[in-house]
């Protein structure tokens, strides 16, 4: 029997709504990598330079991480066998928590399955009725979901607009909230700009609010690899430091670092921790190895930034606008969604695997190609990418 015959009347809406998304151009084209994620990849049989991955330090296929994972598989097996809270917590997980705390210069740390699970699980527990959560308007969806799960009041301020944040905090001050928490991404992943953590901290300190930072795109990149806390010298001041292992660290999993009581509170109340299986021990081992590599190989971070500065300078000199980028996320602003999509497709034909970010992910006339740098790219790779940008940019009359 074919797929259509399986569709019952009640599930007919699945096809209908999918077709509607397709008609609006809101569906994803998912490509597959045939091999590891590195600067040079095999995308469905086509050799490409990878410009769309979060693997900033090129650790996803690092021999040390692989070795650690393989040894852990041999020792512990494929999985943890249970939820963390019941029987899935292993010594390798504890070692990882200690390593994170040491790395982040905090009292304590705990890991979750994913970064998404940290935000959507922890945030709802931090606040309820009588509290307020104040968010940057461009925060990650996992933060939005976490906030929506609470009964706390929510305030939004314009993206990185400290004037508006101050106004929201002033308004909040008049209303006798029990707890006020300001939540922000550290690095905003569509524009590559950095949150003004120093100014945000100053305001939270002035108004007696707490500060929660999602450092997913900052770890391994900012603060000599140690993240945004170190970048702004505010490791002890940020009350909730959230991060992930799935980006610069090349592995998998989410983490939360802060005080001892934060982590105790988190793993006793967050449903995404309590009700999910512990991630596999080999992942924990690879994560420990990743943190060690970042400490032992600072040249990777330097190379990442050298590549970032070079690429940004050169693509701008071609005539592309890179918006507000301050990190290895460098958008090439195209404007029209169709044009951006067309450019991305043509880049793929030329062996460059890049992602077009289009409406409604970004504003209507703000479509872009999101270029993500990698410490493993050579100057030759970057020049190849730039050559393609120049060729296609002229062909499509973008420059």
């Amino acid at each position: 029997m074919g797929g259509i015959e399986f569709m019952k009347e009640q599930t007919e809406f699945l096809k209908r709504e999918y077709e509607d998304l397709k008609e609006k151009g809101h569906t994803w084209t998912i490509r597959s990598l045939l091999g590891p994620s590195e600067p040079h990849v095999n995308v469905e049989g086509k050799k490409c330079i990878m410009l769309a991955s979060n693997n900033y330090l090129n650790l996803a296929n690092h021999p040390k991480l692989k070795k650690a994972a393989v040894e852990a598989v041999k020792k512990y097996g494929a999985g943890a066998g249970s939820d963390w809270s019941i029987a899935g917590n292993m010594d390798v997980h504890i070692d990882l928590h200690k390593k994170i705390a040491e790395f982040k210069n905090t009292e304590s740390a705990v890991t979750f399955q994913t970064g998404f699970a940290v935000n959507s699980g922890v945030i709802p527990q931090l606040a309820g009725k009588g509290d307020i959560l104040i968010s940057d308007e461009l925060n990650h969806g996992s933060i939005i979901d976490g906030v929506r799960l609470t009964k706390a009041d929510r305030g939004i301020y314009g993206h990185s607009d400290m004037g508006e944040l101050e106004k929201v905090l002033k308004d909040t001050n008049k209303k006798n909230y029990r707890r006020t928490i300001v939540i922000t991404d550290g690095v905003f992943s569509m524009d590559g700009d950095i949150a003004k953590i120093d100014e945000i901290y100053k305001l939270t300190d002035e108004f007696g609010a707490m500060l929660y930072v999602d450092d997913a795109h900052g770890e391994g990149v900012l603060g000599d690899g140690y993240g945004i806390g170190k970048e702004f010298d505010l490791e002890k001041e940020i009350d909730f430091q959230m991060g992930t292992f799935s980006k610069a660290f090349g592995s998998f999993g989410g983490m939360l670092a802060g005080s001892e009581y934060l982590t105790k509170f988190a793993f006793n109340t967050a449903r995404t921790w309590l009700l999910s299986a512990a991630f596999p021990p080999h992942v924990a081992a690879a994560n420990i190895a990743a943190l060690e590599v970042v400490e032992e190989e600072p040249e990777r971070i330097k190379k990442l930034w050298d590549n970032t500065k070079y690429f940004k300078k050169e693509i701008e000199s071609l005539g592309f606008n890179t918006g507000h980028s301050q990190t290895p996320i460098i958008p090439a602003m195209i404007g029209d969604s169709k044009k951006a999509q067309e450019l991305a497709n043509k880049m793929y034909d030329e062996g460059i695997f890049a992602l077009a970010i289009v409406f409604p992910m970004v504003g209507r006339d703000k479509a872009r190609i999101r270029n993500q740098m990698n410490a493993g790219m050579t100057r030759k790779d970057l020049d190849q990418i730039l050559m393609v940008y120049e060729k296609l940019g002229k062909e499509l009359k973008l420059i």
């Binding site: 998404f116 996992s142 305030g155 929201v168």
Partner: protein, 380 residues
């Protein structure tokens, strides 16, 4: 599927502006004598030309229109096919009656959109017949354009039409405003909310996760607003709640299960309606009886006024009684997008100055969700 557009042009719209008449309703001959020229046809033609030649719509369109200057001429001059004239004007100088007659025909033909060229006066005439049965999109040409159905200019009107046909835009509420022109020429500024029509709006996208958005209807957001206010009412039983005019507040009132006046001001206390369609004196009496009060407002019209347009019953004396901190503004994100600055014009300079000093106001845009919005006072 064929998309049916009802095209209507008010040929005399906008004539009064350049000659200082502040409107053209009822003063067409005077405008002519002062040397006024017709501008609407060119504005409509600019919009349609752009729509056809820049956007090259691929969807099949059927144009229903009126004879001569009221629509057919513009379509013919732009070489458009698939036209049906559904209303023939019998006289040289058309007026509001012709607009209304044409609209009745549009409704009979079940058009998907009424695309018109005119100002607030034309909008009012259309609305009197169409109400909220069919969405309306205006190519601005009039002297006064306070209503929320207008695109910014002819070029934008073409773009919006194209995006609506391609389903990138959706239908939402749009206030129809009405300035009394006779009073205005005597120096009295009296803008009232005439009705709530269907306009074309950006859909509200709720972010579900990274790079994943779901389009939600205005009603989804209004349900959240209603839920939010329901809780507020329960938590503050000893407050008088005054509900301002507008479609959003009307929707909320309906969800809260009490009858209200869509264009007027109503009040409830402890879940009981204590007044409907209240004027200033009624409000002052209630405020004497219930000294603790909050007023719920939403932005009105194309310029986002929360006070001073469409709710003059909320006089300076009433506002002072309630207190600036007890003003609750609710809005869908769509509305805020089209009016990112909210405006106040109470007519009382001292009171306006207090708003000016406030600089901003927190606007409720969802369940327990607010955002800070800049506040601007007129003339300051």
């Amino acid at each position: 599927m064929v998309f049916k557009i009802g095209l209507l042009i008010n040929p005399i719209s906008g004539m009064g502006g350049k000659v200082g008449l502040k409107g053209t309703d009822g003063v067409y001959k005077q405008a002519l004598d002062l040397g006024a020229e017709k501008i609407a046809e060119k504005k409509a033609s600019d919009a349609i030309k752009k729509f056809i030649f820049k956007y090259k719509p691929t969807r099949k369109i059927k144009w229903y229109t009126c004879s001569g200057e009221m629509g057919y001429n513009v379509l013919k001059n732009n070489k458009i096919e698939n036209i049906e004239i559904i209303y023939v004007t019998k006289k040289e100088n058309t007026n509001g009656k012709d607009t209304k007659n044409a609209c009745r025909k549009f409704l009979e033909k079940n058009v998907d959109l009424i695309y018109f060229c005119g100002g607030d006066g034309t909008t009012r005439d259309i609305f009197e017949v169409v109400k909220d049965k069919v969405p309306i999109l205006g190519i601005p040409s009039g002297v006064k354009m306070h209503s929320g159905v207008f695109a910014i200019n002819s070029s934008a009107a073409a773009k919006v039409l194209n995006e609506f046909i391609n389903k990138s835009l959706t239908v939402g509420e749009a206030e129809i405003m009405d300035l009394d022109e006779k009073k205005y020429r005597k120096g009295i500024w009296h803008v009232r909310l005439f009705g709530i029509a269907k306009g074309i709006v950006e859909p509200t996208y709720v972010q579900l996760g990274k790079a994943s958005f779901q389009s939600v209807s205005d009603d989804y957001i209004k349900d959240e607003l209603a839920e939010h206010l329901e809780e507020q009412l329960k938590e503050n039983k000893n407050y008088l709640y005054i509900f301002g005019p507008g479609g959003t507040i009307d929707y909320i009132a309906d969800k809260l299960d009490f009858k209200n006046t869509i264009l007027g001001i109503d009040a409830i206390y402890n879940n009981t309606v204590v007044g409907t369609d209240l004027n200033e004196q009624d409000l002052l009496k209630l405020l004497k009886k219930y000294p603790k009060a909050k007023v719920i407002l939403s932005p009105i019209g194309a310029q986002g006024f929360i006070l001073g347009r469409g709710n003059l019953q909320l006089s300076p004396k009433v506002i002072r009684n309630i207190g600036l901190d007890n003003i609750i503004v609710v809005s869908t994100p769509t509305k805020l997008k089209s009016t990112p600055i909210l405006r106040v014009d109470t007519g009382d300079k001292k009171l306006d100055k207090l708003f000016f000093e406030k600089e901003f106001i927190m606007v409720v845009i969802g369940y327990r969700l607010s955002r800070v919005v800049k506040l601007q006072t007129n003339k300051l």
